[in-house]
């Protein structure tokens, strides 16, 4: 009376294997909707590993929302249109810098602040590129209240090519480090239903090689 599947895998010593479980079909899954357009049902997904002759080896748990998000530039308005579960969404968004300049971030604080946004009937929060990749607890709060999240990477106009005095569009100095951080951040946050869009930066493209790598790799992801 609930979804359960398991499979045996053989792993060589000191090795890593990328493993995909056969896709699980769902009939009439409860769909996750942005705030104001429906509910935000979340499925609890539990993964456990049991090693033969050892026992339980690792486990992972996550709240997952069934939704499909698409977006494109509408040529008639030159604006980005978001479509969730086939329905175009009128976006009412708020900008987000950071909860606290001393990074006193907590689940309770995130929930309170995200609830403020939801209670104002907003349905999107944009995370400005000059601040953080927000924490999983922030995204969980957005998952629960139906706030779509526009997450920018750490590039801004003023610090990455514009500004007074003009800054250098090729910054940061270590492009490989930027991409390593970007890959890790995507892996940290990618399972959240609220995550709607990755954006290269604020008011500015990243350096060409970073931008190209982000576009290419995010599509692969």
């Amino acid at each position: 009376d609930h979804v359960h599947t398991s499979e045996d895998i053989v792993l060589e010593g000191n090795s890593t294997k990328l493993y995909s479980i056969p896709p699980l079909p769902f009939q009439s899954p409860a769909l996750w909707w942005p705030n104001g357009l429906g509910d935000q049902p979340l499925y609890k997904v539990d993964i456990t590993l049991d090693v033969r002759e050892y026992g339980e080896s690792d486990s992972w748990s996550h709240l997952f929302g069934f939704r499909h998000i698409d977006s494109y530039i509408d040529p008639s308005t030159n604006g980005r249109t978001f479509v969730v579960n086939g329905e175009p969404i009128f976006i009412r968004g708020g900008n987000w810098i950071v909860s606290d300049g001393l990074l006193r971030l907590s689940k309770d604080r995130y929930e309170t602040e995200v609830n403020f946004h939801a209670d104002m009937n907003l349905n999107m929060i944009r995370i400005w590129g000059g601040a953080l990749a927000e924490r999983p607890e922030f995204y969980t709060a957005c998952d629960k209240r139906g706030l779509l999240v526009w997450q920018e990477f750490w590039i801004t106009g003023d610090c990455n090519g514009r500004g007074i005095e003009p800054s250098d569009p090729n910054w940061p100095l270590d492009h490989d480090l930027f991409l390593t951080c970007a890959h890790d951040t995507v892996k940290l946050l990618r399972n959240h239903a609220s995550l709607a869009l990755w954006c290269g930066g604020n008011e500015q493209h990243p350096a060409a090689d970073i931008n190209e790598a982000l576009e290419k790799n995010l599509k692969i992801v």
Binding site: H2, Y19, I47
Partner: protein, 264 residues
């Protein structure tokens, strides 16, 4: 779901000191006496948090978010990176002795770079404010005794300077690093004296068996309508032991509301 695996969140018991005031090396800090709060050097620390959070907790700086207090907080451009280079120390005991298992030390984010010491062993972590770090500490553990952890945290390489007229991102130098840029000041935001240096996200000790789940990925795809969907799960499986093993991967899915289940 019941589990025998242990995980400890290290968010209490931390002490900190300015590195330039501490004569001991990381090996010494993690093999001799745990730093005493009775000395003038060490103070209670806030982890997760920044160096400034710890200084504020100990009343060593005024609250920068009231009045003009932020002007009294030393800016890293004036006092140098050493001023905000700090040791953070903690200790822990494992609730259960691992047998043939693995123990991992996880940092979900450090700004900007850290050297980690545990019971005399050490590792230098990568730079970058937005990077998770997972360290296999199995062979470093004092299984039946206290384990001592010390983390030397360095500020961003290019903390920059705030021009008298302010400006968006100060002199922009922070953008040379992979870090938050608002810390040099922006619009109505005052600059942050320590540039958010610190162990600013969760630290945990995680116990696993020989095989670890790494970054599971869940994706839903839909058929012609939204009445049918497939759930895809992909994950890395890391076998940290030297022998071949057979592992059973089990996936359970149910609506969070425990009274409802979905039928495949």
């Amino acid at each position: 779901m019941a589990t025998n695996l242990q995980s400890i969140i290290l968010n209490e018991g931390w002490v900190a000191a300015r590195a330039s005031d501490v004569q001991l090396r990381g090996q010494d800090l993690t093999t001799s006496q745990f730093p005493s709060l009775n000395s003038d050097l060490w103070m209670e620390a806030v982890v997760p948090g920044t160096v400034l959070t710890t200084l504020l907790k100990n009343d060593l700086v005024p609250d920068p978010f009231y009045g003009l207090n932020n002007l009294e907080v030393p800016d890293i451009a004036d006092v140098g990176r050493e001023y905000y280079t700090f040791w953070f120390c903690n200790r822990f005991k494992l609730p259960r002795v691992p047998q043939d298992g693995k123990v991992w030390l996880n940092f979900r984010a450090i700004n900007y770079q850290a050297e980690v010491f545990l019971n005399g062993f050490s590792v230098l972590l990568s730079k970058g404010m937005f990077l998770r770090h997972t360290i296999d500490i199995t062979d470093w553990l004092n299984v039946y005794e206290e384990n001592r952890l010390a983390v030397l945290v360095h500020p961003p390489d290019h903390p920059g300077r705030i021009p008298p007229e302010g400006g968006q991102g100060g002199d922009h130098d922070i953008a040379k690093d992979v870090a938050a840029q608002y810390v040099e000041g922006w619009d109505w935001i005052c600059s942050i004296g320590d540039r958010n240096t610190g162990i600013w996200d969760v630290v945990s000790i995680q116990q696993t068996g020989p095989v670890r789940l790494v970054d599971p990925h869940l994706v839903a795809t839909f058929h012609n309508s939204y009445t049918q969907a497939d759930l895809w799960m992909t994950t890395e499986l890391f076998n940290a032991c030297s022998t071949r093993v057979t592992v059973t991967v089990t996936l359970n899915v149910s609506l969070d509301d425990a009274s409802e289940f979905c039928i495949v």
